[in-house]
Symmetry: C2
Subunit: 102 residues, 2 copies
DNA sequence: CAGTATCCTATGGGATACTG
DNA sequence: CAGTATCCCATAGGATACTG
């Protein structure tokens, strides 16, 4: 639980689970309401917990990409199950869908 | 996530999922390290979220029992999945098994 | 027995500004 | 662009004592 609790961690994981490269700025734009500091914090925690990997392209223009590790991929079905349960058992009025994709 | 995050909620749910009646004092004894106040808090939150039900036997000797609601039962497979993932993917050295049953 | 009240600390997360 | 630093606030949870 400690590894996945955090206001934005599930959203980060779902985003990273989508195909393609994922850069810091992209995540920040995609997850509208997260603060800059909190995003870096949660990314760092996920990284420390081995769920995601960070690739720093040591170029002049800072360029960092994140991706799921195998361990991170293995937890996605669990996160799916959490979201599915929420969709089917939680009163829609209580859910802030603005935090989600659709 | 908000409904299941809370230091002891998963343990409470698993305990209530076991057959038999479950009283406050029993939970308090079973979950060794939880503080009295925190246990009541988490029970109240689970109750407010509709995952458990509280039965107050209005007797001279206070007697309260808790049980899972249908909604609460429906989330147990998800909690199982979380625990199974933890058992198979998290370094055992990082897990405090003293918080668990066996 | 079950619950409440009070006090305390640690942590999470937001806002903002600054750095290379 | 990506990250750090600082300040601030709300909440979680523990310790303890009190109530019916």
């Amino acid at each position: 639980m400690q590894m996945i609790q955090g206001k934005w961690k599930i959203m980060i994981m779902f985003k990273l689970n989508e195909p393609g490269q994922h850069r810091f700025g992209e995540l920040e734009r995609h997850i509208q309401d997260v603060s800059h500091k909190t995003l870096t914090n949660q990314l760092r925690q996920l990284e420390d917990d081995g769920l995601i990997a960070r690739h720093d392209f040591q170029t002049a223009e800072p360029h960092v990409e994140y991706e799921l590790t195998d361990n991170g991929k293995s937890i996605m079905p669990v996160l799916d199950a959490i979201c599915d349960w929420g969709d089917t058992h939680v009163d829609p009025k209580l859910i802030d869908r603005s935090l989600c994709d659709e």
